[in-house]
Symmetry: C2
Subunit: 225 residues, 2 copies
C-alpha cells in the first residue's frame, strides 16, 4: 500500500488523468450532473472506459477530484492590508470560482450525494473544504495581529468562530450564486463584507447615513486601512 509498492510495472499515465478530469468538467458543463455518463467522459478524454473505472469507483469520486483540481488552482490567502479587504477579496475569489458553470454544479451535486456516503463526504472535506477553511484561520490570525479582532484565549471558541465565519462566507456566496442565481459583483461583495464585519444594524442602507446611501462609497467606519 505504501507508495513504494508501486515502483514496478507500467506507470499510470499522468496525461490520462488530466484528460479525464478535464473531460469531466467539460461534460459537466454541457450535460449537467444527471446526464453525465462515464462512457461519454471516457470518449471525450480519449481513453477506454475501463481505464476510467480502474481509477475511480464512482461518478461522484471522479467529479470530486475534477472539481478539487479547480479549487486547488485558486487557493490563495494574500494579505490585502485589512480584515475588510481580506474578506472582500475572499468573497470575490470564491465567487469567481463558483461562477464557473462546472464548479458550482458539480459541487452541489456531489454534496447532495455525500449525504448518503460517508467516505465521499470525507473525500470532499479533505479535497476541498478543509483547504478553504484554512484561509479563514489565516485571515483571522492576521486580523488579530493587526488589532482588528480581539485575542481569543479559548482555542476551542476560536475554532468555533472560524468555522462560523467560514460557513457564513462560503455558504452565502454559494447561495447567492446557486439559489438566488445572481452574480457576485463588486458591489455585492462590498455589501456582504460590510454585513459580515459590522452586522445588519451597522451596515444596512449605507450605514451611518440613515437619510440615504452614499454613492461615493466613502469607507464606512474606522476599520479599514
Amino acid at each position: 500500500m505504501s507508495p513504494s509498492a508501486r515502483r514496478t510495472g507500467r506507470p499510470r499515465s499522468a496525461e490520462a488523468d488530466r484528460a479525464i478530469l478535464g473531460a469531466t468538467r467539460a461534460a459537466l458543463v454541457e450535460l449537467g450532473w444527471a446526464k453525465l455518463t462515464l462512457g461519454d467522459v471516457a470518449a471525450r478524454a480519449g481513453v477506454a472506459k475501463t481505464t476510467l473505472y480502474r481509477r475511480w469507483a464512482s461518478k461522484c469520486e471522479l467529479v470530486v477530484d475534477a472539481v478539487a483540481a479547480v479549487f486547488d488552482e485558486h487557493l490563495e490567502a494574500g494579505d490585502h492590508g485589512s480584515l475588510h479587504a481580506d474578506v472582500e477579496a475572499a468573497v470575490i475569489r470564491l465567487g469567481a470560482l463558483l461562477e464557473r458553470p462546472e464548479t458550482g454544479t458539480a459541487l452541489m451535486a456531489v454534496l447532495a450525494e455525500a449525504m448518503h456516503d460517508e467516505s465521499l463526504r470525507c473525500r470532499v472535506r479533505s479535497a476541498i473544504v478543509d483547504r478553504q477553511k484554512r484561509l479563514v484561520t489565516i485571515g483571522r490570525e492576521r486580523a488579530r495581529l493587526r488589532g482588528e479582532l480581539p485575542r481569543e484565549e479559548d482555542p476551542e471558541a476560536s475554532a468555533r468562530n472560524a468555522d462560523l465565519v467560514f460557513d457564513a462566507v462560503a455558504g452565502t456566496v454559494l447561495h447567492r450564486l446557486m439559489v438566488s442565481a445572481e452574480p457576485v459583483d463588486p458591489r455585492w461583495a462590498r455589501d456582504f463584507t460590510d454585513l459580515l464585519l459590522y452586522g445588519m444594524t451597522g451596515a444596512d442602507s449605507g450605514g451611518a447615513a440613515a437619510a440615504g446611501p452614499a454613492p461615493d462609497g466613502a469607507q464606512k467606519p474606522a476599520g479599514s486601512v
Copy 2:
C-alpha cells in the same frame, strides 16, 4: 389551460398526489438522489408508473414538489419581540427543516440540476425560495417599526439588503449542515445571529472589545434570554 377547462372527466386523485410525494421523500432518504428511480417511487406510493409520468415530466420536478410541500408546512414568521429573536428563530426553524435528511439532500440535488434547466430553476424559485424570502422582508419591516433598523428611502436598496440577508441566513445554515455537516444547535444559532446582527468585530468571543467599531445596538451582552 384555465382551471375551468378541467371540470369534466375523472378528477385526479388527490390522495395519489400525497402518496407519491410522501413516497418520494421516503425513497430519497433511503436511496439518495442518484439511486432514486421513478419506478421505485411509484411502487412505494402504490400507483402505476404511468400515473407518475402523467403528472411529472422528470425526476427533478417531482422532487421539487415533494420538497416544497415540506417547506410549506413550516412557513411562519412569528413575532418574537426583537430582531435578534426573530433571526434566531428563523435560523433554528430553517436548520430543523434542512436537518431532515430528505430536505437537504433533495434541495441540493435539485439546485445542481437547475443550473442547466431554466424552467426547473423557476419552479424552485416560486415553490421554495420566494416564499422563504418573504419572511426576511416581513422581519425587516418589523425591525424597522421597532426602531432596530434605520428607515430606508430607496426601495431598490432595501430589496438588495433583504436579498443579501436572505442569502446570508439561508446560505450559512445550508452550508453548516450540508458542507460542514454539523448541527444547527442553539448555541450555534445564537453565535450566528450575533454575527449577523453585530458583525465579526463586535460579536466574536463575546466581547465588544478591541479596535472594532462600537455597534450602536448596545443590547448585545444582555441579548440572550
